[in-house]
């Protein structure tokens, strides 16, 4: 395979993976409420943000019900109905300037994309056995026009208390690094919790920020000590959907063996005047060696990615209101030995990925969120080449901006969202960033969504 084709396929893969990063994410589901007998706000400030009990519930393997919460015998009673839920998102997306027509040069696509549905999901969410539970999702998305596996996390968890210490330990099997995380400062459950599926997004993001979602399967162990210390170690291997099996040169971005992932966090809770404060500070990391594939045999040199990051979350939750602050930083070091040998990239690159956001909700039913995002990295004209809309005229992956959102919940399982995204910089520049005359602000996006869960 020549380097030109590889370059195209690598760019295509990056675009695809980045699109996944900006794809709509998932929420907690009513079947958990049916199982526990608790309202949504027992586990959430506003879904999908977990409060302290929501984290406790998830770490205990999604199995807690009234009997276990009462210190009962923990025997699973098979419900008359399995813990199934459904979700639908309807949306409208308007960019500041219409996107280019995908087939006719110089023409513009229709602006104001109505998605009905943007996403339709089915969930199994609840206990499977005495100490085992699952959050499993399949999703239909309008552009793909079919159902496929979405975020899934299957857990086995036990308590192990001694002396004055409490602990819960468990095993997680999942298909998206950070989907198993219990804080909303890591990518899978981070802000924006919902976003357009059709608006253009920046070309670059670290692998941890969603690129591996539903393309891997991982098994890991974790422990949560004294409601304070969290540690996890998980190994991931490629598990790609929509490509022939076993994986061969037709697949792209195939992990060589297994990719280790680690997570550590410290959390402290304390009483406030009217509510409870929770502060978390954490570390995260992942190392991935992968074959570029895309027509090249799965052997020889690899592209190596090492992600390391820090994150923090602060919550103040009263009986009615909640405030949350999240921030994270991920540095990705890329040694692109395989791609550079094929002329598709430089030998090494890096990315710095920042996010921060703050939200306030009154009565758990309405409130604003303001988020900041910024990605910087090495200039690599081979990897980030000029192309209309999604390319970079400068070869730079630098992008940044703000996301403001107003959310209204007429009831706990219904959310109405109005979101606006501003770009200060897009793929390396604020004007003519793609070499075709498009400005970063042309991608500013108004996104309106109605989300229903039942």
């Amino acid at each position: 395979m020549n380097s030109g084709i590889l370059r195209v396929s690598l760019k295509g893969a990056i675009l695809f993976l980045v699109t996944l990063c900006f794809a709509p994410q998932t929420w907690a589901v009513p079947s958990f409420a049916r199982q526990t007998g608790l309202a949504c706000n027992a586990c959430h400030t506003v879904a999908p943000q977990l409060n302290a009990f929501g984290r406790y519930f998830k770490l205990h393997g999604y199995v807690l019900g009234p009997d276990k919460l009462s210190g009962g015998t923990d025997q699973l009673s098979i419900d008359k109905f399995p813990p199934l839920s459904a979700m639908i998102i309807l949306s409208d997306t308007q960019t500041s300037k219409a996107q280019p027509d995908s087939a006719v040069a110089g023409a513009g696509a229709q602006n104001g994309t109505v998605a009905f549905p943007q996403q339709l999901s089915m969930f199994y969410a609840g206990a499977v056995a005495e100490h085992m539970g699952a959050f499993a999702q399949i999703t239909y998305e309008q552009p793909a026009d079919h159902f496929s596996i979405d975020n899934t996390d299957i857990r086995y968890a036990r308590d192990a208390n001694w002396g004055d210490h409490t602990a819960v330990w468990g095993v997680t099997v999942n298909n998206n690094p950070t989907v198993q995380d219990v804080w909303n400062s890591t990518p899978a459950w981070g802000y924006p919790y919902i976003s357009s599926g059709v608006a253009p997004g920046p070309a670059a993001a670290p692998l941890l920020a969603g690129a591996l979602a539903q393309n891997v399967a991982g098994a890991g162990i974790y422990a949560w000590l004294d409601n304070t210390w969290y540690g996890e170690f998980t190994l991931y291997r490629s598990s790609q959907t929509g490509v022939s099996q076993p994986l061969d040169s037709n697949a792209s971005a195939v992990i060589t063996n297994v990719a280790p992932y680690f997570r550590g966090a410290w959390e402290h809770a304390w009483a406030g005047d009217k509510g409870q404060n929770d502060l978390e500070v954490g570390l995260i990391g992942m190392s991935v060696h992968q074959y570029p594939g895309g027509g090249n045999a799965l052997t020889g040199a690899t592209d190596d990615y090492r992600d390391t990051g820090v994150d923090t979350q602060y919550q103040y939750v009263t009986g009615t209101d909640s405030f949350a602050l999240h921030a994270s930083y991920i540095h990705e070091q890329q040694s692109l030995n395989a791609s550079s040998a094929l002329g598709a990239s430089a030998a090494s690159d890096h990315l710095n990925y920042w996010t921060a956001n703050a939200s306030y909700y009154w009565d758990g039913s309405y409130g604003p969120t303001l988020g900041y995002f910024n990605t910087t990295g090495s200039t690599d004209p081979l990897l980030y080449a000029p192309a209309p809309l999604n390319g970079s005229a400068t070869g730079s992956p630098d992008s940044g901006g703000w996301i403001a959102q107003w959310t209204w919940l007429p009831s706990m399982n219904v959310q109405v969202t109005a979101q606006y995204t501003w770009y200060d910089k897009f793929n390396g520049a604020s004007s003519n960033y793609d070499g075709s005359g498009r400005k970063a602000s042309d991608n500013n996006t108004l996104y309106l969504a109605l989300w229903l869960l039942w």
Binding site: A39, Y56, S70, T166, A269, A271
Partner: protein
């Protein structure tokens, strides 16, 4: 006949007097109240020996279960979503919780007469609060009301 009437009036008076002396205190079980979510209201009650306390299942899904009491006292545990009235005779501090929602800090304290066992009660309260996930500090705040 006059003797019978006099005796009956006396007996009725005594019964009425006893009834008037033994008060009933109502504690509501709430999903949300002035002190937050998953809460007993009021969560701190002082009663006299012989008084009754009625745990009222105002919101569904809750109960009341004694988890600490004076030596020799009899505990209680109500059925979920059912009212329960208990008569408290032994002086001291009683701590109770909602069994399904103890992790949420749904706890309450009753002091009967004098808090003779307050030292042990505070140790028990510390242990209970340590297990709570939500509403941190509520147990401590309630215990601080004991004089």
């Amino acid at each position: 006949m006059k003797q019978l009437i006099r005796t009956s009036i006396l007996a009725a008076g005594l019964l009425w007097g006893i009834g008037a002396l033994a008060a009933d205190h109502v504690v509501q079980e709430l999903n949300s109240g002035p002190d937050g979510t998953f809460v007993f209201s009021p969560s701190y009650v002082v009663v006299q020996p012989g008084d009754t306390v009625t745990f009222q299942a105002t919101d569904q899904g809750h109960n009341s279960e004694a988890v600490f009491m004076p030596e020799g006292a009899t505990g209680w545990k109500s059925a979920i979503s059912q009212n329960l009235t208990v008569t408290l005779t032994k002086p001291g501090v009683y701590i109770y919780q909602c069994s399904p929602h103890n992790l949420f800090g749904m706890v309450g304290v009753i002091v009967v007469g004098s808090p003779v066992n307050v030292a042990d009660a505070k140790k028990a309260a510390d242990a209970i609060e340590k297990k709570q996930i939500m509403n941190q500090g509520r147990m401590t705040t309630i215990m601080q009301k004991i004089h």
